[in-house]
Symmetry: C2
Subunit: 248 residues, 2 copies
């Protein structure tokens, strides 16, 4: 290095690395079962002594784990280990999708939905409880009742698909599906709003899924769902082509 | 309220609500495209003036968005909007799975894997580039070479499945699959380690997937993958039953 270029002096960031290490340590203890969901962590002072760091470092570590949804500070009571929270998974998946620069994101999502929801419909046909079947029937009846309101229809459509996911009794299906659908919420609304064609085919598609689920016909439910999603995807493609034309 | 019970006095948490609102505001601006991945945010002082809050509040908001993987502080340079980071999705999904008290989590994951990976194999057969086919062949050859080492076999097995996910050219498949597989990593290792039977069937299963993908046979690849996962799940069930026996 020549004498004329001054050496680059930057802060060493020791504290940052330290609180991240403490956060990792706390997370490991939780994962190993030393602290379980619902447990209160020892007081800050004790944690600082135990980890051999300052109380400031402990406070930073707790804040990081709070932002990640693992800990929860309750004022006047203490810091608690949270239970599993699927909304945080949804949030991170949605943030990821929102930051994706890819123009084809909606079609990538549609491809995943086809796979997940085909299986969801089939499993719902096999596993839905009588209450869950009744709930699906209620949502479908409401869809017909609110045929004039795009926003309400979009919401009911959304609820119909999530109710099917719940009926699989495997919560991972709704954990994965919810953020994917949230990301398409705008499309749901635009589709229902700008949808010029007759509503009958869309209602018929939902009715076909509903009937197959209620009669326990897994393969019929899968087929009906895949046909319905193919129809939605076609609308989405038309919408995208239209947008491109408007821009041109 | 009777005079004998003292009023409950707790801090009002005004600051916390404020920094969360500022964080939401920043996130909305990013989502709306005002600041894009790679952009540097205005200086703290300017943000504080713009939002009408103290610099401390801005600093807290930035810290929360850093923990969520949306912003990145670079010392001496500023605060930047990060690109989409799938590792944060993986992290949150894994945290969720780790906190789940459910004993059947591994079988719920296996159910999702069957759906995702069946489609992954089929799409890989249709979309894999020549390089991606060669990579799969290389991984398979290494698996046979390291037949004696459970840990290496488990890693190669892992890489084989993720390479297939990449070959779909839809990054959402690997974003969803990676944390599910990470969560089963222990099982992978235990399966390869304690696996008393001959290795041939396991190799043959991978070979069947590989051959179908390399010859562009989508349905064959799907079938081979589903057979392979059914075999893995059987091993997993035996392992769980064994554990239950040992405990009894």
């Amino acid at each position: 290095m020549s004498a004329s270029t001054p050496p680059e002096i930057t802060p060493i960031e020791r504290e940052q690395r330290l609180y991240e290490r403490v956060a990792d340590k706390i997370l490991t203890l939780i994962e190993d079962g030393a602290w379980r969901p619902g447990d209160r962590l020892p007081p800050e002072r004790e944690l600082a002594q135990g980890f051999g760091v300052s109380r400031t470092v402990v406070r930073e570590a707790v804040k990081v784990l709070e932002a990640r949804g693992i800990l929860e500070s309750i004022t006047g009571s203490g810091v608690y280990v949270r239970g599993p929270d699927s909304s945080l998974v949804s949030q991170s998946l949605q943030t990821y999708l929102q930051l994706l620069p890819d123009e084809n994101t909606e079609f990538k999502i549609a491809e995943i939905r086809r796979v997940l929801e085909g299986e969801i419909a089939a499993l719902a046909a096999l596993r839905a409880t009588p209450e869950q079947r009744r709930e699906l029937q209620t949502i479908y009846a409401e869809m017909q009742h609110y045929a004039g309101s795009a926003r309400t229809l979009a919401d009911l459509d959304f609820r119909f698909h999530l109710a099917l996911a719940h009926a699989t009794h495997n919560d991972l299906f709704s954990v994965l599906l919810t953020p994917l659908m949230e990301q398409l919420r705008e499309y749901f609304l635009v589709n229902w709003d700008n949808y010029g064609g007759p509503l009958e085919p869309v209602f018929e598609q939902h009715k076909a899924i509903l009937d197959a689920v209620c009669s326990g016909d897994a393969e019929g439910a899968r087929r009906a769902m895949i046909e319905h999603l193919a129809f939605s995807e076609k609308l989405m493609r038309e919408r995208v082509a239209e947008k491109a034309r408007t821009r041109a």
